[in-house]
């Protein structure tokens, strides 16, 4: 094997090693806790943890539930899709548990829908009603 190929294999190995280490670190890291008012479009695609009061609740015929949460300074939408709602039901959390003015903590990805920022929770543990 010539020197060029050895270098290619070496850098391939170090690239994979780095990726594995970053992946393991990302798996074990808690998301950043942030206030609702600090969530901006700069954070789109990133995982955040935020909390606030439920100020609006809009159920949907398809089984989705759209919440609006607020920290008094700002508001953000939290869509809970039907698949997650079903998982929540299995854990004895139903639509009725999401009461107006109730405190909620949400962990999810920051996204944008029709120009509005939102946080997308993906699993049961991403939602914590207080």
């Amino acid at each position: 094997m010539d020197k060029k190929n050895i270098l290619i294999f070496w850098f391939l190995f170090t690239s994979f090693l780095g990726l594995i280490l970053i992946y393991v670190a990302a798996l074990n890291l808690q998301p950043v806790k942030i206030e609702v008012s600090q969530i901006t479009s700069e954070l789109i695609g990133r995982s955040v943890l935020t909390s606030g009061k439920i100020v609006q609740k809009t159920p949907n015929s398809a089984g989705h539930l759209f919440l609006m949460i607020s920290d008094d300074k700002s508001k953000i939408q939290v869509p809970i899709f039907a698949s997650l709602m079903n998982d929540l039901k299995k854990n004895n959390i139903t639509e009725n548990d999401f009461k107006i003015n109730k405190l909620i903590s949400v962990n999810g990805l920051v996204g944008e829908y029709r120009g509005q920022l939102q946080i997308l929770p993906r699993k049961v543990s991403d939602i914590n009603l207080k």
């Binding site: 850098f11 954070l43 996204g111």
Partner: protein, 393 residues
Amino acid sequence: MFLEILLFSILGICVGTITGLIPGFHINTLIPFIMGMTFLFASPYYLTAFIVSLTVTWIFISYIPSVFLGAPQEDTSLAVLPGHRLLLEGRGYEAIKLTIIGGMGSLMITLILVSIFSTDFSNFYDMLRPYIQYLIAIVVLFMIASEKRLRKILSAVLIILLSGFFGIITLSSSLVPSENVFFPMLTGMFGLSTIIISMKGKSKIPTQKEDSNLNISKVDLLKSILLGSVAGTLIGGETRSFLVSLSGIRVAHEVVSLLSLYIIQTPRSGASIAIQKILPELAFYDVVLMIGVICFASGIAVLITMFLGKRIPKLLAKLNYKYLCLSVIIFMLIMIFLMTGVYGLLIVFTSTSIGLLCAHLGIKKSHCMGCLLIPSILIFSGLNGVVLSILGI
């Protein structure tokens, strides 16, 4: 009022010059700090003038560390390689001049376009948004196809997948604060890997030529200013045209981001988010003020960039190239550690490895942009959450 605005614009230019010269420093790191000091500004217009002039100056000046030290920002990363190539040919000053011409040309065209079509931008944005992922995917396919030979095409796919996966896990995790994450990501891929390779051969930066010649035809220069980011990424071949295009894209992006508050009522950058907080109800004359400050600051920033672009390479040419490269590498690693901690070092180790792998496979460095292109495709297509759920992040 006019004198005060002028004064705060000049202050912004001074701060923009200093921050632009710091390798890897992003303006978004400074904006929250400025927003905490609003009490120092008697009027929101002074603060707006300060932020706008600071941002515009920083864009021009930050090409100096990108070209001469290989320290990129998220949008200067592709300029490192061609800029460094010209530096090693003794044409570092020409590289800086090309970025200035690209930036100023694009600034004028952008301002004209915004003035004419400002009312249509909102509709255009709404119309285009659902299809952005397809446009990016086409760019990726063209990038791969541009390699022509099968072995290189396969290598390009490997690099795009590796850097794409790297981008997905790095950008979506909380390993590094979001405002600093691009520093270790892009410094490794485009900066450190380039410096490490160029260290092998050269022992000295050649004496830099300061003539006013630009080795690019007027037609190519004009075409490069007009070309968009898609074409810029795809062409990648002709060093000079590429630098002009890239600088043009960057300036156009920042100017449109600043004016997006008025055009589409949505902030698109750290500076525009800050301005939205300072001036929540942006009126037509506020935009006129911003355009005035942009023109004033860019004019002064160009003069400063040319002045520094002439002197800094002269200084670098006196130093031993290998020692200079080693010092830059050590300095970058210290900066990355201070700004992003141990995880930043892990990210820069991985990104440098991918950059070196790309260079040894003999394919274009632009494939490393997969670290931004692949996550963008996922975000715009709404698949980001699904992929991250599969990965368990």
